[in-house]
Symmetry: C3
Subunit: 369 residues, 3 copies
């Protein structure tokens, strides 16, 4: 939401009546986090990291752009509302929620992401809201004629009450939010951020394990390119007594910027090449897909990397009874299908939590707590 | 719907409250039918046909996968509810039905089929339900990254109450139903089944002629490749004193498996090359499109076949007053447009019946009779 | 809507109950306008123009096909309802309108136009109606198998209450309306008409300036190919004491058919190559994009044309305080972005007016005033 829009009331031509524009009760704090492409090597702290990435400024209420915009209190509030959403969803048949009745969400997707789009649209509908869908805005919209994202946003905000944007360029969500007079949710902007994924990951840990303080977390797979594990490492650092194990092929190791950030926050971490040993000590094993598209023509490197750390029955054998296995999906064979029937396989419940988190955000942004 | 889901109550993480999971009052019986690609030649009976295709087992309640899963009582119940749906649809303006209020249908289409998709979505909305649409899941979804259909289903079932699946692989609907904890409707799986088309065809005959027992049916056009006429031949065999005439170019004649099945059921059939003579004796002429894509490079064979049996004014001249002409659509020139204005041209009413049949199935699967 | 449908009541198989088929209170008059491709040179008047284009006949109630079907009284009524729609839209949160509850609109788009589609779908939903979407009917539908538009319409009308058609062929909307038993709205048919754009343009002038009689209008940019400016010139001629200035590069000058028409209506017009001088005298500057696709391989001509008349700060400096700048969007650089923050930049409000105009049309066509 553009700052000017919040400052100047009453505003002509503003789509929302002022009553619906009250600031949601989510608290946000200025913060920073190394960007996903900020590369390794130099020791950076959160405070010093500004040159490497966009500094988040205060007062950006009303949009969801980056995982790091949320402090611990904000996270707790979102998770509380998400928990309430489970009851709303389960009670929806016959007597659906009318919380967002009369609100219209535009899903403006410049690259396809069926899973994310469907979960946002389901979230809106489970709360009684309506949806305008653009499944492939890049090819089908005025963008093809050279219209700027800003102009598209100015048009679409006239037709809707909230915009969910998926874009191929890092920073696009921030540009959209700076333009729009209605809330914008970042549903992934290229190699940049995917904050609702990060939120649902942390919520899943809390929901499955019961706590976030004190947990031991094994991050497995492609730690260099996966924005998921990078955002998760960042967010989890807001909690106490965290221990993180990085388990990944050498070519896709966690980069130094995140390690430095964890150091600055007093989070313990270590690297390991023994998945079984790590699994025996963890509350959460977070497996990720090795992304073939990152290897270009080096298919040999990809093939070597993808087979190295597989979550299978042997991992289940050593994994504590209370622990869970997570995965952002889609998965290929980095978790074998015989793991699915184990109660500790949490990845489909994790996907479902995406629905609750998105319901919570839509409610908080559109009508407040 | 996965058997495990029905067996084990209460279930954690199950999307539907148990009250909505009560078994719909559709009765299903174990049965079998030759598959559409089972090829000709060998004499097979229903009982012996198992090696040629998937045997339908008992207890598959709650999904619509194959035309042959329905016995005569189930068909009657569906048709009764479909008839009620005509009134529901006509009374929808201003005071729409709330029968499926709060229910969410996901249309997961791996190949495009606008007609089928729109009729399912209209059906859901005419009953007060909501829709999540995926128009081109093959290209746009995680499938492109290698995700299995089963994993996609496990995710999508978390966002919706019923899945309507269109897929390019025969058997995909069965796999989806075996995975899902919510009902699955097969909206066509490749060369396999398209059961809602078969149901609307039989419903149309009943609705137009008034009865199914004793009818005389002329199946015209591409009888070798059309799953429509094959399914129709199978379903109509459940009724008494049926007579079927096959009228088709030699290259696309009805295959022996269906003929053998009709023999085993005591259904009379004969082949004819005289469309006018057949039309003069029938209650229903069911015309089909010669599918160019089945002829590969033999355009000459296609051209010869497509022009051979055309439904035109001459057919109308000999067709009994009470009889009707049907077609699954789209049609090219196998029915001339001057036939459209004749009251016996039933094909657009037939398409409309697809709406009522799909409304009936959605109601039966989601809330019961 | 097909004439037969209106004539013969009661009708079997008609989707709408007769109560909803009452003639909307929009009055239409027979009229004519030179078509956008009718070419220049010969002097044509409205009365003599018939050979160059389709003559609009009387009695075509219930469809929106061409800008010229509306007389001044009809325009006034639409604008009055559009104004009411502003309040409906702003009051929609929490207590949304139920004016079109239970009505289903099918957006049948044979070529993509995200802006137009979203505004129609938003309009339907702001009035409590529901939507069936086809974003790319050309590639995804039965059209690919050779089905005629007429057959597609006959099917889709069975699933919906109103069809919004975007097509690549001029005249397609008229053919659809002649076929359908439900209202059809033309959302652009190729080089033909885009009547809702024309309506929103005229509505925007009235809304921004307060009057239509007596206004001075500068049409800038591609006047040869833009159906927008052609339709606008036609519609504005229905009002009194209009003065139009044409400002365009030589290669895309306004064609003689429109000039002749304006002459026949007593509308004053002149051509100018001095944008600043025109801007200093106008109430409305209507800028348009030079369409690269019209120049084929003559990129040099395109580049020369596109940079010639830019609306920038210098134009703002001479533009009267009460005047406004309009643009049908998308814009490239023919209006510089530093103009956006000026209160006289009306183009995003203009886009928003498209919502109100479409709400008004949907209401008028489906339930009347």
């Amino acid at each position: 939401m553009a700052a000017a829009a919040r400052a100047a009331l009453p505003r002509p031509h503003l789509p929302l009546p002022s009553s619906t524009l009250r600031t949601p009760s989510i608290s946000f704090t200025p913060s920073s986090v190394p960007g996903p492409r900020s590369g390794g090597g130099a020791a950076t702290t959160a405070a010093a990291a500004a040159p490497l990435h966009q500094q988040v400024t205060t007062g950006r209420l009303g949009d969801v752009i980056e995982a790091q915009q949320f402090d611990r209190a904000a996270l707790n509030e979102i998770f509380e509302v998400a928990r309430e959403m489970e009851a709303v969803e389960q009670g929806s048949h016959g007597a659906p929620s009318r919380v967002l009745e009369g609100f219209l969400m535009a899903t403006l997707f410049y690259e396809p992401s069926t899973r994310t789009r469907l979960s946002f649209e389901a979230a809106m509908r489970r709360l009684g809201g309506e949806v305008l869908t653009t499944e492939n805005a890049r090819e089908f919209s005025s963008a093809a004629k050279g219209e700027t994202l800003e102009d598209t946003i100015r048009t679409v905000e006239g037709y809707s009450d909230i915009i969910v944007l998926r874009h191929f360029e890092s920073g696009a969500a921030r540009r959209a939010a700076d333009t729009a007079n209605i809330p914008v949710i970042n549903a992934g902007d290229g190699p940049g951020q995917h904050p609702t994924q990060a939120l649902l990951d942390v919520y899943t840990i809390k929901r499955e394990i019961g706590t976030l303080d004190g947990i031991k977390l094994g991050l497995v797979g492609d730690l260099a390119n996966g924005r998921t594990v990078r955002s998760l490492a960042y967010l989890i650092a807001k909690y106490k007594d965290i221990k993180i194990y990085f388990v990944s092929p050498d070519v896709v190791k966690m980069k130094d910027d995140i390690k430095d950030y964890l150091n600055s926050q007093g989070v313990q971490w270590e690297e390991s090449s023994d998945l079984l040993e790590v699994a025996s000590k963890c509350d959460v094993i977070y497996q990720t897909r090795i992304q073939k598209e990152r290897f270009g023509e080096r298919i040999d490197l990809y093939e070597a990397a993808r087979g190295k750390y597989i979550v299978d029955k042997k991992v289940l054998d050593v994994l504590p009874k209370h622990a869970v296995i997570m995965h952002p999906l889609p998965r290929l064979d980095e978790i074998t299908v015989d793991v699915d029937s184990d109660p500790r396989a949490a990845y489909f419940r994790q996907a479902k939590n995406g629905l609750y988190i998105r319901m919570a955000l839509l409610k908080l942004l559109l009508v407040g707590h």
